[in-house]
């Protein structure tokens, strides 16, 4: 009776340990999603944000990107490659156009086609108010590729999916 009880307790402890490890240890998928959380946090701008905070966030945005990141926007026929410094520069310039804005990511689907590469399909929603008072609320489907470099997942490609082709 005591032996059965001991075995049951041991099994329960092992199960709880596995559950705790699964929950607490960051899976690769969670690490990838965390990068999007950081991007969302640093792109978003509150009303009355100080220039120091703005510059700091723009600099931080650059740290999320690989040495070369391709951006494709088929609707505008735009396709270009940017370095992290260029991304920071454009992020700062872009944020200056808005008095407030938020960038949120939803419905992330992460796949790992090969080791060290993550492909993510997601919904991106940009809401905000431009400096001249114009309200912006745009939602797009986006495909992104991240590469694991020095144990960090970095963005190497963004493509805005063209759903309707005129």
């Amino acid at each position: 009776m005591v032996r059965i009880k001991t075995i049951l307790i041991a099994v329960l402890v092992v199960i709880l340990g596995i559950l705790a490890a699964t929950y607490l240890l960051e899976s690769e998928e969670k690490k990838v999603k965390k990068q999007f959380d950081l991007l969302s946090k640093w792109v978003s701008k509150d009303l009355g944000e100080s220039p120091i905070t703005m510059a700091s966030k723009a600099k931080n945005i650059g740290t999320l990107f690989a040495e070369s990141c391709e951006l494709k926007v088929p609707v505008d026929s735009t396709s270009a490659t940017y370095t992290p410094a260029e991304v920071s520069g454009y992020a700062l310039h872009g944020r200056l156009q808005f008095s407030e804005m938020s960038l949120k990511f939803y419905d992330l689907t992460v796949e790992f086609p090969e080791k060290g590469t993550a492909q993510v399909v997601l919904t991106a929603n940009l809401k905000g108010r431009s400096m001249n008072g114009e309200l912006i609320d745009e939602t797009r489907e986006v495909q992104s590729v991240l590469n694991k470099i020095d144990q960090k997942w970095l963005f190497s490609a963004f493509e805005v999916v063209e759903v309707l082709e005129k």
């Binding site: 939803y106 419905d107 919904t123 939602t139 759903v163 309707l164 005129k166």
Partner: protein, 166 residues
Amino acid sequence: MGSESKIRQFFFPSLTPRFLIRVSFVALGAYLFFSNVLIPIHIKGTSMEPTYHDGTFNFCSRFSYLFSKPKRSDVVTVRFAGNKVMLLKRIVALEGEQVEFRDGKLMVEGKELEEPYVRLPCHWNLPSRQVDQGCVYVVGDNRSLPMETHHFGQTSVKRIVGVPLW
């Protein structure tokens, strides 16, 4: 049981295990039905005026094309981003057909299409293009909007989620 106690029992049922199980099954059934068969949709925007109005509610019937294919003049919901953002548009041309706008008139295969649902003036001009295989050409009914601000064009049939219930 008197009628008074029956009424009381109807509005204030006893929370027996049997009742709770029944409620759980009803809730689960409703969740599965409204997330997979009839999806509630909230219409935002004026691109389908006057057929569908901004701010109104409807349902997207997901199994309308179970035994048939989308056809011209069908109003369909197109998955735009993720699982939550859809476009409500009308099919005006099918795969392989030539479509163009000439002085506001929609031409399919060189002939003007009769569109009794278009009640607002249109001045669009768009050169002829062929609809790709596996795609349909969708446009909103409200063409008084500038062409640049109206989401329309060819889209894969696979992106068609369903049709509005009414």
